[in-house]
Symmetry: C2
Subunit: 198 residues, 2 copies
């Protein structure tokens, strides 16, 4: 044995988190054991609380702690624009950027022939219904610039076509601070095709 079995169980659960292998899970648990009062007890409590209260927003699929997520419940957010993201992580990234004032629709993934992920698993029907029901002026597709992301974007554009809603997607190009020398050919190509007059 190394640690008592309760502690080994805890290490095993921690090791299932992304970015923590067995070795770093062990190190994280040791830190917790040394800071039982100031860190471990509050962390356990915060985690239990969120595990109990977190739920998927009935409207947009974002994670919140009530039936409507904070964004859908915020009367100051514009209702006419829906930003479609694959994942809650992407929603958080958009929010960190602080440039979008509308609402979201979280797909819960992207279409993937490999993983067998089809449209029905992705809340795409819910998006179409929402665009019909709400007075939606524009749907902004904020999906990864990957094959699956772009396949999903095309699928959604087709599905939304009958609604007549305006559909846009994030621009592709040179990232801010990006050096051409380090960019892949695809990005440079996309940036050239989307070039703007200065």
């Amino acid at each position: 044995m190394t640690a008592p079995s309760d502690i080994e169980d805890l290490i095993g659960l921690m090791a299932r988190l992304p970015g923590l292998g067995p070795r770093s899970a062990r190190r994280a648990v040791l830190t917790l054991l040394k800071k039982r009062g100031p860190l471990m007890a509050p962390l356990a409590q915060a985690m239990a609380h969120v595990a109990l209260t977190a739920r998927d927003c009935a409207t947009c699929g974002n994670i919140g702690t009530s039936d409507l997520c904070p964004i859908c419940a915020d009367p100051k957010r514009q209702t006419g624009e829906i930003c479609v993201v694959a994942d809650v992580a992407d929603l958080w990234a958009m929010e960190r950027a602080g440039v979008f004032r509308g609402r979201y629709h979280v797909l819960g993934g992207t279409l993937s022939a490999l993983d067998g992920t089809g449209p029905d698993e992705l809340r795409i029907p819910a998006l179409v219904a929402r665009v019909r029901d709400e007075a939606t002026a524009e749907v902004i597709l904020a999906l990864n610039a990957t094959v699956d992301g772009q396949t999903t974007a095309h699928y959604i554009a087709d599905a939304l076509e009958p609604t007549g809603v305006r559909i846009t997607s994030l621009a592709q190009g040179v990232p801010v601070g990006g050096e051409l020398d380090y960019l892949d050919d695809g990005t440079i190509g996309a940036a050239l095709r989307a070039r703007r007059q200065v």
Copy 2:
């Protein structure tokens, strides 16, 4: 805002774990949020349980879930040999190696002029008392081959000298599988000085 404040609080606490920055803490919490039933709830429960039950072993300083740690409580462990380690992590590493059948003494750090860590913070007086009280044949110093580790080893050897106990330390040399080409000069020098006849 990005996530609801409860979730942001959880991310903030997770980010205080070693190996998890703000970004990976966010990713870990998202994984937890997606696996609330199978992972987040059990992890919160395991953590709360360990936070409540874990305590430092009264004899050796190892972390266990009762007054005596599993090693001190195990009658099959030899009592005549005490292996001195700086930290519980080192104890776990020794136990994983599975080569030591005696008991431990966890210092809780190493002497450090920089951090202002002196002998009294390190359970060194407790070690001396223990060597006097228990029938101790040998004290094995398993400390890091760093300046602080070796300073601590020398200090302990001096403190234990009056007891007459046999004091040894882990051998320094080429690690198993180690390639000379990649070893630092200090290790090669130590290995040469400790060379053995074949």
